[in-house]
Symmetry: C4
Subunit: 126 residues, 4 copies
């Protein structure tokens, strides 16, 4: 089974709500990434975080094993530093081998959650 | 009328809520796929499901007749085995002939549902 | 100003809720299309509707004037026939000149609406 | 670090709710753009707004500094003129250097907000 997808994925529109309601961890307000590696080797992934008013932060390093999907809450990315809440950010996800990336926002600040998901923008290093 | 679309579609971000509220089946919490076959022949479709901590499961086989759309609740995929609820999963949908694939999440765990839809990621076998 | 976009756009995942709550027409449950024509000539558009259990229906004909966007509620497509409510359908939108197409679902069956939007899938006639 | 993305991005489906509920500015009803510039130079961006019944309006000019993301509420675009509320509009975003663009709708007209996000449609000038 070959690796499906592309090696660079971009999420321009991040923003993590700072408060939430409902049972945790299911209803914790968050942005969440899904990273799918259909290939026969582990995918070594590096994420760079962009901000409005300061230099990019990274690398955040992740591994997705061969033929596995991995779900990562952006709120849980803490090395080299935790992401600031309620500030616009963007993510660039790079992998040595092809992957496919999706992102979801769960916002539970109000009593009834709202949720939206979207594919990331696929591209390749130039 | 020729077949529109591509032969491989990827949904990285699956997760099926285990509970729901409201009238069934309309308000059942679920992930749902739409598969459109605009071509003159039936589309023979095979789905592989990827998980976080075990080997991929499949094939799940489906057919979409010529010039028809088909809506499939992921919760209803049971052969070779039912999908686990409330665990992250990913889908790779392959068809011998071009199709177009969309996915929606309906989450009715709270009193007021939230819903989001997205196209799957289109690609081709390498 | 040249025409931006592509000439075939696909929405696989249509489904129009039959009931709604709240003020009409803003909160009417519906699927809604946006068709953008940035070009210097009117765009002549033809929509074909696909169903689960019967032959495709069409053509639904629309025009979008030069350098204009047009919002169309799918519920309002009635010639050659109105769309069935609460049945899965798909749309193929064709234009002689390039356009860009987006779709939104507004679901107000419950007291608090849920809404989701997505681009249609862009392609070209083969 | 090179500039990732494309130079033309299209959002066909704009519509800004005129009323809202909840704390401002977080819960103000709005459409919001995210513009990511990963490149080493500032991105000079020009937005054109399309309407249903009158000529396009623009240019709206923005700059995104090198290696920064910028979040812009469409409601705040006022030069050359503020956007009309509760009318369908479309946006074409052009940049001299590659960027990546996402859009979100926040609708708080009812007590419980609904939110959806989507990438814009990427293309290139012909």
């Amino acid at each position: 089974m070959s690796a499906i997808g592309q090696t660079v994925w971009v999420v321009p529109g991040g923003w993590i709500p700072a408060s939430g309601t409902g049972r945790e961890p299911e209803f914790t307000s968050r942005d969440e990434l899904w990273l799918l590696n259909t290939g026969p080797q582990p995918a070594e992934i590096v994420i760079t975080v962009y901000w409005q008013d300061r230099a990019p932060v990274g690398p955040y390093e992740l591994r997705v094993e061969a033929e596995r999907v991995r779900s990562v809450r952006v709120n849980d990315l803490i090395d080299p530093e935790a992401l600031r809440l309620e500030e616009p950010y963007a993510l660039v996800v790079r992998s040595r081998t092809p992957i496919v990336v999706q992102v979801a926002r769960y916002d539970t600040r109000q009593a009834e959650q709202t949720m939206s998901w979207s594919l990331a923008h696929p591209t390749e290093e130039r």
